[in-house]
């Protein structure tokens, strides 16, 4: 089997804290493999360790412990300019006093590539990002999206083994962001580029990635394909952070073969697939709003609920429902669905395969 292109081995990092306090680790014992040609997204809220991971890889920070192996070589102590990694910065960080072509040529210049070859490779890189005629412009004369493409061209013109992208689309508006997501994905596939992409936007991560690494509190919570992260989250944090999820407090009665038997606060019992729930501890039942269906109040297996509100959202109708236990849940219905009037009694149901039981981290703390 191929060795991974990039490997983080028990990498830890903490930043010095103010006097007398101790900072929690920004990154705790991270183990992570990236395969050649893969687009891996680091997804997490701010402070999750995703940016720290990127900084450690780019060389702008040094790990306290652990090794970072790129093509089998430990680069954890190398200065950034010796690592040969392409980086796209959140602010683009184009050199304002250089033209677009000079910006893209800079990594080649730094590597002593002869002038004639430089021009040829710059031209190819600019064609790659669909800006062939913009070589003579200054960065300030370009739109945000164009600057982002120049930054991409500059990061890959020297054919690095891996390109890092630090929330590169954060400054763009929604439509442009979605367009650029597809463009980055297309570039990645066309060139077979290995990319590590940092974002806090879960929908961006789902769109782009081959695999998503979800981080929180400096720990890796799950690393899997977008589909798996969405459908089969490893813990309650991932379930809540990626996509929308209903949380219903419950008590775990029994756990057998990965199936949990739960009792809700109103006494109703139901089963769910268990990810990490432990018997005896508080737990939550999670089910995606699009998996919740509306049935008659007296249908067998249905939970009785009161419809609090129905909001038309264009591509779907969003229902807010109150369960008898006091928990509030959200259900999504297709736009054409018949919706009862608010205040009426209904039943909600879902397939047990779509419900997950998790340890309740908030309550356990």
């Amino acid at each position: 089997m191929d060795a991974p292109l990039l490997r983080f081995e028990r990498v830890s990092k903490s930043y010095p804290a103010a006097k007398g306090t101790r900072n929690p680790a920004a990154l705790a014992e991270l183990d992570l493999d990236v395969a050649r040609g893969e687009l891996l997204t680091l997804l997490g809220p701010s402070g999750s360790g995703k940016t720290t991971t990127l900084m450690l890889l780019a060389g702008f920070e040094q790990p306290d412990t652990g090794r970072i192996l790129l093509e089998g070589r430990d680069i954890a102590r190398l200065p950034p300019h010796r690592r040969g990694i392409g980086v796209v910065f959140q602010s683009y960080a184009l050199f304002p006093h250089m033209t677009v072509a000079e910006n893209v040529a800079f990594p080649l210049e730094a590597r002593g590539v002869p002038k004639a070859e430089r021009a040829e490779r710059v031209k190819r890189a600019l064609e790659m990002v669909r800006l062939p005629q913009y070589g003579d412009r200054r960065p300030a004369q370009l739109s945000g999206g164009q600057q982002q493409r120049v930054a991409l061209a500059r990061a890959m013109v020297f054919e690095p083994p891996i390109v890092l992208l630090d929330e590169p689309l954060g400054a763009l508006d929604k439509a442009l962001r979605e367009e650029m997501q597809l463009e980055i994905r297309a570039l990645h596939q066309r060139l077979g580029l290995t990319m590590m992409y940092v974002t806090h936007d879960q929908s961006e991560a789902l769109t782009l990635s081959d695999r998503i690494a979800v981080l929180s509190g400096g720990r890796l919570r799950q690393i899997a394909s977008p589909r798996q992260v969405y459908d089969d989250p490893a813990d309650g944090f991932v379930a809540a952070f990626v996509g929308e999820n209903n949380r219903i407090p419950a008590e775990l009665l029994e756990l057998r073969d990965g199936v949990a038997r739960l009792r809700l606060a109103d006494g109703a019992e139901m089963s769910a697939r268990s990810a990490d729930a432990l018997p005896g501890g508080p737990c939550v039942l999670m089910v995606r709003p699009e998996r919740v269906s509306l049935v008659a109040a007296d249908a067998p297996g249905a939970l009785p609920a009161t419809l609090a509100e129905a909001l038309f959202q264009g591509d779907h109708i969003r229902l807010r429902l109150m369960l008898r236990s006091g928990a509030e849940i959200v259900a999504k219905q297709p736009p054409g669905a018949a919706v009862p009037t608010p205040g009426s009694s209904v039943g909600v149901a879902w397939a047990a395969a779509h419900a997950r039981a998790f340890r309740d981290e908030a309550a356990a703390r």
């Binding site: 780019a58 200065p79 300019h81 040969g84 050199f95 990594p107 210049e109 730094a110 590597r111």
Partner: protein
């Protein structure tokens, strides 16, 4: 109220500028005395200035010492500013205070100290000694203007340069220096201007071979009240205005 404020402002400005402006017409006087009204206009004092082997070598000396000390101050000041900007290290504030000290320590103290330090080492009465002393006086101006330029420089660009494979030297010369060049040039001009009008240190340190314009004016006023001094003064003022203009031009906000 507004009018009163304006009036006070104008009066203060006049107080600052008039003494200098009074000198200018005198330098064009056809007579030989420091008195108004002028007996007539002529360029005789300028002709005397440029024909004199008392004044002309002093002018060249001033320009030479100014250029050399400005170059030296820039050579030391730019890396100092860069280091102070880049790194937060213990003693940073103290180092900053030491670098800026020549701006606040009385000139006479600096001059005496330099004479005591340079004398035994054979640096007094030498061109090198004077340049070194003036460079020291110029460094704080370079550091302050370059720090101001760096505060507008986006440090992420240095990271970007490193990510492009550029080592620290290339990153500095290709990415940082072009961005802060106007600040560096302004600092050099300030250092040059500092040297140009510096008198006290020159009085202590300069030998006969290093007499600068202010030094000769000082001597000229004592020996003979010739209006050539006024021509020299006007020339110096004009030079200062030019330098100030250059700084203003350099520090104009970029496109």
């Amino acid at each position: 109220m507004r009018a009163a404020l304006w009036a006070i402002g104008v009066l203060v400005l006049l107080f600052l500028v008039l003494p200098i402006l009074v000198v200018v017409p005198l330098s064009f006087s056809a007579g030989s005395f420091l008195t108004y009204p002028l007996p007539g206009l002529s360029l005789r004092w300028y002709a005397a200035f440029f024909a004199s082997d008392f004044w002309l070598p002093a002018l060249w000396n001033s320009l030479l010492v100014g250029s050399a000390s400005a170059a030296l101050a820039t050579l030391f000041g730019v890396p100092a500013a860069f280091g102070l900007w880049r790194a937060d290290f213990p003693g940073r504030r103290i180092m900053m205070a030491v670098i800026l000290a020549p701006m606040v320590v009385p000139a006479i103290v600096v001059a005496v100290a330099l004479l005591l330090a340079f004398g035994p080492r054979g640096l007094a009465n030498t061109f090198g000694g004077l340049v070194a002393a003036h460079a020291m006086l110029g460094v704080p101006f370079v550091v302050v203007t370059v720090l101001a330029a760096l505060s507008r420089f986006d440090a992420v660009l240095l990271r970007a340069a490193a990510a492009c494979g550029a080592g620290p030297w290339r990153a500095f010369f290709r990415v940082c220096l072009p961005r802060i060049a106007p600040g560096v040039a302004a600092g050099a001009v300030f250092a040059f201007a500092t040297s140009l009008d510096e008198t006290v240190v020159v009085l202590f340190l300069a030998g006969p071979g290093q007499r600068t314009l202010p030094r000769q004016m000082f001597a000229g006023l004592n020996d003979e009240i010739s209006l050539t001094v006024m021509a020299a003064a006007t020339l110096m003022a004009a030079l200062s205005v030019l330098l100030l203009g250059a700084v203003a031009l350099l520090q104009r906000p970029a496109r």
